[in-house]
């Protein structure tokens, strides 16, 4: 196994498109790192540079202690799972998995052993003689995984491997990928635009936007203490509410005339500074009209089954509240809300940077 290290990696495509703008990242040996970000943020490009499928414009990529910038994909000791599976349509499942090993001159009995082992792990033994077109999407996905496993690589690379599956299968395969990665202990880099996938799979979560890393951390880190407004609204569903606010004093802001205590607030913020205040929909509680409460006017309610979303407005800003179904009367027109000081996030209006204490 091996770690993966990126040092100020840049990628400029023909036509001066800068897809990756200086990314540095350490991925520990055996860990599961997920790159998440909106479509076009450069996450595939980054993954493909690790794979060796794109040249690296500047910077260094290390796998283990080897700099791999100029090493062919096949020599990098990686395996990749593609979104559309990229199985060889004319080869049966067995050959699809064996092909890479044959090309490397692995002895036949060894190939057979590895392919059968992978097929057993992935429960695709009955399909070894079938062509990919005779398989369902989920089975193809397993074959693609099998092709990666048999190589016993240092690093697994996944590029949105579950995007072509239906919702139910996606959840199922997600769990399987996680279990498999745990069992094999192979360093994995996984690209997705789906924040649920990102949260559930990762040991280390990397949020990207416009070719730069916005935040690196554990999923709970990123969720609890988003370092930028972009991360705050990208991770979490429904997204964090962002409202206009004004600094009132140390650890105190006001939103729409109501005062909110804030636990994590930079000490040097001057009173009357205009800022953005973020509150997650699930972090607010309804209270009997009390002193510190702020109010929203309810526009409509969305039913999600276990929970309900109350859509409303607070001083002109949209606000969504998530609460267990039945907790709040559906007839409510106006709600008085309160929020823990630890669940209020402040962001710079211009740069979007978190205005918290430098280190918690």
């Amino acid at each position: 196994m091996a770690s993966v290290t990126l040092e100020s990696v840049r990628k400029v495509y023909a036509g001066n498109v800068e897809a990756v703008k200086g990314v540095s990242l350490d991925i520990a040996d055996g860990s599961f790192c997920v790159l998440v970000g909106p479509s076009g943020c450069g996450k595939s490009t980054l993954l493909r540079m690790i794979a060796g499928l794109e040249t690296i414009t500047a910077g260094k990529i290390r796998i283990g202690d080897r700099i791999v910038n100029d090493i062919e994909p096949a020599e990098r000791d990686i395996a990749m799972v593609f979104q559309n599976y990229a199985l060889y349509p004319h080869m049966n499942v067995y050959d699809n998995m064996a092909y890479g090993l044959r090309n490397r001159g692995t002895p036949k009995p060894e190939i057979d052993k590895r392919v059968r082992e992978a097929a057993r792990i992935l429960a695709i033994e009955p399909f070894l003689d079938r062509k990919p077109r005779q398989l369902s999407g989920g089975q193809r996905q397993r074959v693609a995984m099998g092709r990666a496993i048999v190589r016993k690589p240092q690093v697994f690379l996944f590029d949105e491997p579950l995007s072509n599956l239906d919702a139910k299968l996606r959840v199922q395969m997600r769990v399987e990928i996680k279990r498999l990665q745990r069992a094999l202990g192979v360093t994995s880099v996984y690209v997705t635009h789906d924040q649920v996938e990102a949260m559930t799979l990762s040991d280390k979560l990397v949020v990207m936007n416009h070719g730069v890393i916005e935040q690196i951390g554990t999923p709970s880190d990123v969720y609890r203490r988003p370092q930028t407004r972009f991360v705050a609204t990208f991770i979490g569903s429904p997204p964090m509410n962002i409202m206009e606010g004004i600094v009132e004093g140390p650890n105190l802001v006001s939103v729409g005339g109501s005062l909110l205590p804030v636990a994590d607030m930079r000490a040097d913020l001057k009173a009357d500074t205009r800022i953005h205040v973020g509150i997650r929909p699930e972090d607010v509680r309804v209270v009997e009209d009390g002193g510190t409460a702020f109010r929203i006017d309810v526009d409509f309610i969305e039913e999600l089954g276990a929970t309900q979303l109350f859509h409303g407005k607070i001083a002109g800003d949209e606000f969504v509240l998530q609460a267990p179904t039945g907790l709040i009367a559906a007839s409510a027109r106006q709600l008085a809300l309160t929020v823990d000081a630890t669940n209020v996030h402040l962001f710079d209006r211009e740069t979007g940077q978190r205005l918290g204490q430098v280190d918690p």
């Binding site: 794979a51 060796g52 499928l53 994909p73 593609f82 060889y88 092909y99 890479g100 062509k131």
Partner: protein
């Protein structure tokens, strides 16, 4: 409702059968003529039913040849035509699949220029460049040789274009998966591109075999020996200007025989064609 449906089926069938009759009748007549003797045909006494001389006429056509004009038996002409058509079909496929592979998968300077030059030659059929081509073939001493018959007709814009279009439909990820699986450009070609191209190759083979088989002007120019002449030229030579001297029964037998290999190729390749379609469908 049922009535109208039936009528609706009858009309297209009728049209179809009339069409088939129009196309097939001359072929049938040629076959009938090939089973009579020359005098019966010349006197206009030939009926619509086949005559008694089927075996004799075909034996003479294949193994002996006509007594006047070209004396080559059909066997030799068939062989010549077959070698030429095969050579053209196989050569064209080999050349065009390789050039298409280069154009699609290799990045080199003036790649698109190369492509457009090939594309432009589409507009120049053999007849247009026939004089310079003849000159080159003659200077190379290739008159009356198989190479002379085949090589100038091999370069193919159609084939290159067809393969290029097909290669463009192979997903990039397949190339990348191959790279990661340690297959270089040659292995990728052999292990992935070729097997996936079988359908396209079969289609191209059918078209080009028939194209080669039916060549007239080019073999007429560069073959002078009877032993090198193709069957199309042979038939032409059998039909001499004085009608009475033409051994029509042999000319017709030769014509019927000339139709068989292309038909066989179509039938054989059609199987592969369908098989290929079913097997490589993604």
């Amino acid at each position: 409702m049922v009535e109208r449906r039936r009528l609706g089926n009858i009309v297209p069938h009728l049209v179809l059968w009339i069409g088939i009759a129009i196309v097939a009748f001359p072929v049938y007549l040629a076959f009938v003529a090939s089973t009579y003797d020359a005098t019966t045909i010349a006197n206009g006494q030939m009926g619509l039913a086949p005559g008694p001389l089927f075996l004799e006429n075909y034996y003479r056509a294949i193994f002996v040849g006509t007594s006047r004009s070209t004396r080559e038996p059909v066997g030799t002409m068939m062989l010549n035509s077959f070698v030429m058509a095969m050579g053209i079909a196989v050569g064209k496929i080999a050349i065009s699949i390789l050039s298409a592979y280069a154009i699609v998968y290799f990045k080199f300077p003036f790649r698109m220029t190369a492509f457009w030059i090939i594309f432009i030659t589409l507009m120049l059929p053999v007849e247009v460049r026939i004089y310079p081509t003849y000159k080159i073939v003659a200077d190379l001493g290739l008159l009356d040789t198989y190479a002379g018959l085949i090589v100038p007709l091999i370069a193919s814009a159609t084939g290159t274009l067809l393969f290029r279009q097909f290669f463009m439909t192979i997903p990039d990820e397949l190339v990348e998966a191959s790279k990661i699986d340690g297959a270089g450009f040659f292995r990728f070609f052999k292990d992935t591109v070729l097997p996936l191209s079988i359908t396209t190759m079969a289609a191209l083979f059918v078209i080009q075999f028939i194209y080669g088989w039916n060549q007239y002007l080019w073999p007429l120019l560069i073959t002078t020996k009877d032993s090198m002449q193709t069957i199309v030229i042979g038939i032409k030579k059998m039909i001499v200007t004085q009608d009475a001297l033409t051994e029509w029964q042999l000319a017709m037998a030769t014509a019927v025989l000339a139709m068989l290999p292309p038909v066989a190729v179509v039938i054989l390749m059609q199987r592969l064609f369908v098989k290929g379609l079913v097997e490589t469908e993604k």
